[in-house]
Each structure stands twice: as structure tokens, then as C-alpha cells.
């Protein structure tokens, strides 16, 4: 249950991210720039009420974007955690019914958390009992509590296992093999994560503070109301460029690490992917290629524009397709087990 639920959450989260990137992200960025320009023009017109209207619109746009990014990230992370818990089950000393109940609660929380986050923008503060927290936030926070409770109980079960306790039938440990698929996913995934860490360290050292300073300089420029035909447009464009720079660098950092983790996780389930060796290798290659293409072309978006964005989206789609291909193999494996069991009867 955790294996299927985990892969399904990861695939759904990635698909949602791809759809968001194509249909929402760029349009939202353009509208944000327009809202900032409207605020700057309101300053020039000495109209504080128009400033407030522009910022209300800006806040609305940022919330729209932020909640969608958060829904995407939290759905994928819940999927990863579900996969992790699936792999840890042989080492959790709890009874089989309790494990099943925990899996159901975890997957329910893993689904409701991103749904709640997604709804925050649309539900807002309608019928809210607190002035700053709406019902969608309550749903998301409650789902988060479910995940924490399950993790705590699983951690307790693992602690008991370490102390030598066992309960009920124990799942078999993962088979250890050194097939080409496993080694490639394992070492490829680790290298991807390492690349992501090194890039993140470089970003933090070279760009984080510079970006923060540049943002304030641009905002000061806007508030100082530069003269000339492009007086306001220039700093607004500079602000847009800065936001794009930050977004692509953070996205490249987080995506390459997430894909690395995914590759390592998928290396564990290769013995359960019931496909020919040729197809297993194809899906491994497609997954790793997509995992490199997406972050690299996200980074190149600033230089190559929409072409790079399109290639990055194709990279994301390659990962989703490889994931679904492997999921089909897992389904075939369970099908073959069922057939064997029927044959034995």
C-alpha cells in the first residue's frame, strides 16, 4: 500500500508541477510585474489607495503561485516518505493490522496536505474562526499532524525492533543485488544529490545575499521614482529578472536533489519491476536523463528563454513516464505473484 501510494503521490505531484510550470508559472510572473508597475505608477500619482489596491492584487498573485508550488512540493515529499516507510517496514516491530492502519492514515494525510495547501488560495478566510487562518489551512495543518503522528509511531516501532522485539509476520528484507539497473540508479542518484548540494552551497555563498541586497536596491529605485520614459519600467523589469534568477537557481537545486533521492529509492524496488532487462534499462536511462535535463535547462531558461523552458518540461515528463513505466512493472510483479498463488491452489 505504501509502495503504490508513494509512487502514485510522487508521479501525481510531478505531473501537477509540470502542468503548473506550463500553464501558470510564466503567466503569473508577468502579472506580478504588471502589479508592481501599477504600484509604482500609483506612487508617482501620489495615490496611496491605488498603491493598496495594487498590493492586494500582488499578494493575491503571490499566494496563488506560492500555494501551488507548496502543493507540488508537499505531494512529492509525502510520496517519498511513503516509499521510505514502505522500505522500513521489515524493521518496524508493530502488528500487521496496526501497520496497515498507519499506512492508510499516512496516505490520507499525504493526500489531504497538498489538497489543503492548494485550496488555501481559493477558500481564503471564508467562515474562518481565526482572523488569519482559513479552513483550508486547518485542513493542511491537520493532515500534517496525521503525518507526524504516523512517523512518531513508526519511529517507536523501529526503536522496539532495535531493542530486539518482533511482532507478527515480518516482511522479508529487500533482496540485495548488484544488477546494472540497481548500481546505476544508486550511484547515479548519489551523484545527482551531490551535484545539487554543491550547487546549493555555491548559490548560498555567491548569490543569496547578493540577491537579497539587489532586491532592496531595486525597490528603493522604484520608490525614488526615476525620471524618463522608461524610468519605472526599468526597475520593474530588473525586479522581474531578479525573481526569475532566484526561481531558476532554487528550482535547479531542489529538483536535482529530489530526482537523486527518487533514483536511489527506485533502485530498491528494481527486483520487483517485472519487465524484461531491456525495458528496465530503458526506464533507468530515461529517468536519469530526465533528471539531468530538467534542472540543467531550468538554469538555462534565462539565457535561452522559452525553448529551454520547453525542454525542461520534457525532462520532467521523461521522469514521470519512467516512473509510470516502473510502476507498471511493479503491478505486473504483483500480478505474477497472484497467478503463482492461484496455480499453487
Amino acid at each position: 500500500m505504501l509502495l503504490f501510494g508513494g509512487i502514485a503521490l510522487v508521479a501525481a505531484g510531478m505531473l501537477f508541477g509540470d502542468i503548473f510550470a506550463v500553464f501558470v508559472l510564466h503567466q503569473n510572473g508577468g502579472q506580478t510585474g504588471q502589479a508592481l508597475l501599477a504600484a509604482a505608477r500609483a506612487v508617482a500619482a501620489q495615490d496611496p489607495s491605488a498603491v493598496n489596491i495594487a498590493f492586494a492584487h500582488l499578494g493575491n498573485l503571490l499566494e496563488d503561485r506560492g500555494t501551488k508550488v507548496d502543493a507540488h512540493v508537499h505531494m512529492i515529499d509525502a510520496g517519498y516518505l511513503a516509499l521510505l516507510l514502505a522500505l522500513m517496514q521489515p524493521y518496524v516491530a508493530l502488528s500487521a493490522p496496526n501497520k496497515k492502519l498507519l499506512a492508510k492514515i499516512f496516505l490520507t494525510g499525504g493526500l489531504l496536505l497538498p489538497v489543503g495547501i492548494f485550496l488555501i488560495h481559493y477558500v481564503g478566510l471564508a467562515y474562518a474562526f481565526l482572523p488569519v487562518i482559513g479552513w483550508a489551512s486547518v485542513l493542511a495543518d491537520s493532515a500534517g499532524v496525521l503525518l507526524i503522528v504516523v512517523l512518531l509511531v513508526e519511529g517507536w516501532g523501529f526503536w522496539n525492533y532495535l531493542r530486539g522485539r518482533r511482532a507478527g509476520p515480518v516482511e522479508p528484507e529487500l533482496p540485495k543485488d548488484r544488477t546494472w539497473e540497481r548500481r546505476t540508479l544508486l550511484s547515479g542518484g548519489t551523484v545527482l544529490i551531490l551535484m545539487g548540494f554543491v550547487f546549493g552551497a555555491w548559490y548560498a555563498g555567491a548569490n543569496l545575499y547578493e540577491h537579497e541586497n539587489r532586491e532592496i536596491v531595486i525597490l528603493k529605485d522604484l520608490l525614488d521614482q526615476p525620471a524618463g520614459a522608461d524610468g519605472l519600467a526599468d526597475p520593474v523589469n530588473a525586479y522581474g529578472r531578479l525573481q526569475a534568477e532566484k526561481a531558476v537557481q532554487i528550482a535547479a537545486h531542489s529538483h536535482i536533489i529530489e530526482f537523486g533521492l527518487l533514483a536511489i529509492l527506485l533502485s530498491f524496488i528494481q527486483p520487483y519491476v517485472f519487465l524484461t532487462e531491456r525495458w528496465k534499462r530503458i526506464w533507468v536511462k530515461v529517468l536519469l536523463a530526465g533528471s539531468v535535463i530538467l534542472p540543467v535547462f531550468v538554469l538555462l531558461e534565462l539565457k535561452l528563454g522559452l525553448l529551454a523552458g520547453g525542454i525542461a518540461d520534457v525532462g520532467g515528463l521523461m521522469v514521470v513516464v519512467a516512473l509510470v513505466g516502473m510502476l507498471v512493472g511493479v503491478v505486473r510483479h504483483t500480478g505474477s505473484l497472484d497467478a503463482e498463488a492461484r496455480g499453487a491452489r
Binding site: 515529499d77 517519498y80 500534517g144 512517523l151 523501529f158 532495535l162 548519489t190 536511489i264
Partner: protein, 162 residues
């Protein structure tokens, strides 16, 4: 189960719970108010500029800068702790395949766990007027994690695992 695997899985689970509890606390008690303050101060900076109150505009912009500085690091702490915790657990499951002696594997696991705790902690210390110490810890933590991960990658690629 080897000591290095126990350390990574148990340490990762504790870190994941810690990161989630911190995130939950932040989301319920701090985040909404912080976002309101951040948006409000930026809007205030523009509104004051429209009213030609330059000093108030400047103060509001400074408040925006400080609030955002805090917010970015709080969110970073939450996401990095959970992300690193997941990595620890994943590697813990497969750590016996790192082709080094158990003693070396334990040292790598310890470095990775220590770095995973210290690096985000350093980031958050930057928000409580301890920026130099925070930066030192963040750099030291990230170096530990990167070095340990590099050693793990080499271990996976080496012959003789399992």
C-alpha cells in the same frame, strides 16, 4: 543491522520529526503573521512614498527586508532538515552497499548526521543576531554533508560491496 545503518535511520527519523514539528509550529503560530507583516511593510513603503513621507517609506522598506530575511531562513530550516532527514533514512537502508569497512562507514554516517543537524541550525542562528556563528556552522555543516556524500558515492561505485 550495522551501527552505521542504525545511526542513519534513527537519526534521520528523529530529524524528520523535528523538522516537521518545527514546520508545524512555524505554520500555525508564526508564518501567517510573518507573511502579513512582510506584505504589509512592502505595501506600506509604497503607500508612504505616494504620500511623500520618505522617512516612513524607508523604515517600512527596512522592516520588509528584515522580515523577509527571517522568513527565508525559517523556511530553509524546515525544508532542509526534512530533506536531509529523508536522505539519511534512504542511505541508511542501503548503507551496507558502501564498499568500506564498517568503521569508516560509521565515521561517514556520523559526519553526515552531524552536518545535517548543524547546517540548518547555523542557518537559523543567522536570524537571532548571531550571524557570524551561524554562518560558520552553516558552512561547516554543509562541508561535512558534501564530504560524507562524496565518500558515499565513491563507496557505491567501488567493487566489493555487499
Amino acid at each position: 543491522m550495522s551501527r552505521s545503518r542504525k545511526l542513519l535511520i534513527l537519526g534521520g527519523t528523529v530529524l524528520a520529526v523535528l523538522g516537521m514539528l518545527y514546520g508545524l509550529h512555524y505554520a500555525v503560530f508564526v508564518e501567517h503573521q510573518t507573511l502579513d507583516r512582510m506584505g504589509g511593510s512592502l505595501a506600506g513603503a509604497f503607500a508612504h512614498a505616494a504620500e511623500r513621507r520618505g522617512d516612513d517609506s524607508q523604515l517600512a522598506l527596512t522592516a520588509y527586508r528584515e522580515t523577509k530575511y527571517d522568513y527565508v531562513r525559517q523556511v530553509d530550516l524546515h525544508s532542509h532538515w526534512i530533506g536531509l532527514a529523508m536522505l539519511l533514512i534512504v542511505l541508511g537502508i542501503v548503507f551496507d552497499e558502501v564498499a568500506f569497512a564498517e568503521r569508516a562507514r560509521f565515521a561517514i554516517a556520523l559526519a553526515m548526521l552531524a552536518g545535517s543537524i548543524v547546517f540548518p541550525l547555523g542557518v537559523i542562528l543567522q536570524t537571532v543576531h548571531k550571524a557570524p556563528l551561524g554562518s560558520v556552522l552553516a558552512i561547516a555543516g554543509s562541508v561535512l554533508v558534501i564530504a560524507a556524500l562524496g565518500a558515499t558515492a565513491v563507496g557505491f561505485m567501488r567493487e566489493g560491496a555487499i
